[in-house]
Symmetry: C2
Subunit: 82 residues, 2 copies
């Protein structure tokens, strides 16, 4: 279970957004990892919010998901302000 | 000297943007590091594009510079597309 509201971290919000977009596209974590050129265990860690992705990984994931990275970050900032 | 155009990396574009905004605000690297809560040597490495900043560091730098992180990333994406 994930705690609600302000206690959640930027990594958790980012991970949730990645997982949400991945499922929308019908990708497994392995498929997303393949598309983005990053290991599936790293995808899993990012989705669980236990790794802070680097700029390069953020850009790769965004490209694989067909979204601008700036939009993913805007979503994280929106969630952090709630 | 920095090579022009496509040969530059996302880290370099990000670093240049951070340096530009930092100077606009009249901060030294040390002052920006203090405001963002990251070490000045890490600020220096980021500005030179030799470190890929994590999501958390991107958010901290953006906050210290008074800009949305999404705007910094949008600038990097714009530069990468040129």
């Amino acid at each position: 279970m994930t705690p609600r509201g302000k206690s959640r971290t930027a990594e958790q919000f980012f991970g949730e957004e990645i997982g949400r977009l991945r499922r929308t596209r019908g990708f497994s974590q392995e498929e997303l990892g393949f598309q983005a050129g990053i290991h599936r265990t790293y995808v899993s860690q990012i989705e669980r919010g236990i790794k802070s992705p680097t700029l390069v990984v953020i850009l790769k994931l965004a490209q694989a998901l067909g979204r601008p990275a700036s939009q993913l970050i805007a979503e994280v900032e929106k969630q952090l302000k709630k």
